[in-house]
């Protein structure tokens, strides 16, 4: 585990540098620990693939920990204690969120590419994609954009060489072993397999995004 400052108001706790279930569980557990047990001066935490970043108000933290030279040092100590506490915690089971996906020529912008890459026909690619249950490793890039994995190696096609200027909202894509859904129309380089009509981000609903880090996702044919 490595802890380093991400500026004077955040520290990143890095459990490793890979896409792995074990490291991601640690990252999410640490983040959830602080969301439910915030320390004075805590702002928020951001879990990622194999790290969690803790944001805080330096002046408040320093005032609350006069024994520490810096707020960064105080938060690092708090993180070390918390990491020991969560080590043996078992991740609570999450419900599996079902996401209906449309596969047709209008929605499946890169299905042909994936078929060529995999040496499979369209039905086989879609079948291979739908067979797995994916984990939401993290949310980032765009509001509500869930990075999920892991995609079957046979269809794990790399990002497009040059990104599309406009990927339609709801597009379901693959980038290597990752899969994700574009919540908004945006430029992007993921290979698009299909499209969902489910809103992955809606500022007017609460919560604004249906997925949370750690959730499981099952794609089904719409």
């Amino acid at each position: 585990m490595r802890i380093f400052p991400l500026g004077d108001n955040a520290v990143t706790v890095e459990f490793g540098n890979e896409i792995s279930l074990e490291l991601n569980r640690k990252a999410i557990a640490l983040s959830e620990h602080f969301e439910s047990n915030p320390f004075p001066g805590f702002i928020e935490s951001v879990p990622a693939y194999s790290s969690t970043t803790i944001f805080f108000e330096p002046v408040k933290v320093r005032d609350a920990h006069i024994g520490c030279r810096t707020a960064c040092e105080a938060v690092s100590l708090i993180v070390e204690t918390a990491s020991a506490e969560i080590r043996d915690k078992v991740e609570t089971d999450r419900a599996t969120v079902e996401i209906p996906v449309i596969f047709n020529s209008a929605a499946s912008l890169d299905l042909d590419e994936v078929c060529k890459f995999a040496g499979l026909d369209a039905d086989a690619v879609v079948y291979t994609f739908l067979k797995r249950i994916y984990r939401v490793f993290m949310i980032g890039f765009l509001p509500g954009f869930a990075y999920m994995g892991e995609v079957d190696d046979r269809i794990a096609i790399a990002r497009k060489q040059s990104p599309r200027l406009k990927v339609p909202a709801g597009s379901v894509g693959i980038a290597g072993k990752q899969t994700g859904i574009y919540p908004l129309e945006s430029p992007g380089g993921w290979q698009i397999l299909g499209r969902t009509e489910l809103k992955m981000f809606d500022p007017n609903s609460d919560p604004s995004c249906p997925l949370r880090p750690g959730d499981r996702v099952k794609f089904v044919r719409a």
């Binding site: 400052p5 991400l6 004077d8 990143t12 002046v59 980032g140 880090p213």
Partner: protein, 317 residues
């Protein structure tokens, strides 16, 4: 009861100090680029520091006060005029109903703030009135357009307040920004580290609220490290594959996968927030202690300002 946008300016948005608590859902804080300027002018107006303001770029908007309004301008100096009469920057002023605020020329800095007594009357989204241009939510959900009407309340301040020069003292087009080294700083080659600490880097035209693209000598890491995505922050300096850097600013993405060289310290972010294309920066590494002390020093100055404003108001009450 409102402000009427007669001309929108190139990028005028409603902002406050930011939206916190939603980064783990990919919703970044947004907020003003220069928080020091906004906190100071809000304090001068007797507002909550987090009251919503307009962030303006140059060419700036033309705004009609549809009601008697106590307001203040801070941040960049765009040569504010009310019905043709000059308005002092970093000061509160009174706008009679029907007067028009214009900005004549860009003298210093890239972002000016218009604050009104009691703040702009905007419905918060996820606890903030800041505009998220990506999500089309918060504030107006977009940049302001001609004809927009921004709600605020009628207000009057009897004794105008001017903020001392300490809040804008750091403004320059060639700042030395203090940074804390981050995750991959130690992977810079010895030569690259020296270049990073001694050369000037120029903001390209591709520099905006999302981030500042820098142009300068290329930097290299000792090993080409591929990183899985992790959180990024306002002020994070990333090294791109072409050896150039980007400084992430207020509208940055919540996560990124580029090597993290360092982060601009909080006390210097307002200075960075005033930069624009063509400005040139140098970097200086400081200790966590120095970064935190600089921030504590700013907080002290702001509390002095707060005290001064309160005293002045009590004297006139």
């Amino acid at each position: 009861m409102s402000l009427i946008v007669r001309k929108p300016g190139i990028l005028t948005t409603v902002q406050d100090l930011g939206r916190f608590g939603s980064r783990r859902f990919g919703i970044n804080p947004n907020g003003t680029m220069d928080k020091a300027a906004v906190r100071a002018i809000n304090v001068a107006l007797g507002n909550d520091e987090n009251a919503a303001v307009l962030e303006m770029h140059f060419p700036a908007p033309e705004i009609e006060f549809d009601l008697e309004t106590a307001f203040g301008i801070s941040g960049a100096d765009f040569g504010a005029e009310l019905d043709g009469g000059p308005i002092r920057n970093w000061s509160t002023a009174q706008a009679p109903k029907g007067t028009v605020l214009k900005f004549r020329k860009k003298a210093l800095g890239s972002r000016a703030y218009l604050a009104v007594r009691n703040g702009l009357d905007i419905e918060p989204w996820l606890g903030s009135r800041s505009t998220n241009l990506l999500a089309n939510a918060g504030g107006f959900g977009r940049q302001l357009a001609a004809g927009d009407v921004v709600q605020c309340r009628e207000s009057r301040i009897d004794s105008p307040i001017s903020i001392g020069p300490s809040f804008s003292a750091g403004y320059t087009a060639v700042p030395a920004l203090r940074i804390l080294p981050s995750g991959e700083y130690g992977l810079l080659t010895a030569l690259s580290e020296q270049v990073f600490l001694s050369e000037r880097f120029t903001l390209t035209n591709d520099s905006n609220r999302m981030g500042f693209r820098l142009k300068g000598p290329e930097l290299h890491l000792v090993e080409n490290k591929t990183l899985v995505s992790s959180a990024a922050s306002f002020g994070t300096i990333q090294l791109l594959p072409d050896g150039q850097m980007i400084i992430l600013m207020a509208d940055h993405q919540t996560a990124g996968g580029y090597p993290r060289i360092g982060n601009i310290i909080s006390a210097d972010l307002p200075i960075a927030g005033q930069l624009g294309p063509g400005d040139r920066v140098t970097f200086k590494v400081v200790s966590v202690m120095e970064a935190e002390n600089a921030l504590a020093e700013f907080e002290r100055e702001l509390s002095f300002l707060k005290m001064g404003v309160r005293l002045k108001r009590d004297v006139h009450a």
